[in-house]
Point group: C2
Chain length 157, copies 2
Amino acid sequence: MTGYRFGPHLISESQIFFKSNLTIGIVNLKPIAPSTLEDVHVLVIPKRNTPRLADLDNDETVDLMLSAQKIGNAVEQHYGCSSLTMTIQDGPQAGQTVPHVHMHIIPRKAGDWTNNDDVYQELDKKKQGVDNEDRTPRTEREMSAEASELRTYFNLD
Amino acid sequence: MTGYRFGPHLISESQIFFKSNLTIGIVNLKPIAPSTLEDVHVLVIPKRNTPRLADLDNDETVDLMLSAQKIGNAVEQHYGCSSLTMTIQDGPQAGQTVPHVHMHIIPRKAGDWTNNDDVYQELDKKKQGVDNEDRTPRTEREMSAEASELRTYFNLD
């Protein structure tokens, strides 16, 4: 385990594929994904645990977005995609289930979802995230393998 | 009309409620909205017209996000909301209909949509944006009134 948390949950080092000064990128314990995208769905979170985007100071906000841009490029390239869905559910009334600022990044390609924005229905209905009891969490080994691949884009040991 | 464009479309000065060095905030010609939110749905766009987030340089990316944070605070406060949906459909396979980077910001409150993420279905199905022929565009007067209200948060003349 690292010293980092996602809301109340301790983050395992094996989940982390990106680190900057104020931000980390993690693979998702319970990703949403159509079969064509091999469960790809990553989260970009500030190291400091705070629920709302408005709580971040300028340095944290800037670092979050520059990190998201880099991470988006990497996952799009790595999975042979051509677009990205990038969403912050900022607060519980926007569907946020873990009270820690996080941007969902989901690489997209033609035909990945029957209706383009079914991706969002999945984000909601399946209550992605660590607190969804309807989904089977991935194993440490699966998460570690995905993170290892993505880590190569960022020279992270 | 201003010198600014949203994709191929010229932006009217009356639509603009926020300006920073590299970013503008505009009210939407064809917003999605449940009745409880009075058609609130704003867009944050870089002044430079480029389709993908990856095309933005660091200054533009930083300015976009810091602007989005400020604009989110203002619309949430102004409409008595408690959360924000913030989404970038980055590329056509993610549902982007106007090839110009833009973040959708939709203030949220409890009960505004029957299912929380119906908001995204609306973003897709109704093809929000200037190129959706199924939706009736708002009048210049309606857009101007909304922009005038929001402008007061930013000391924009």
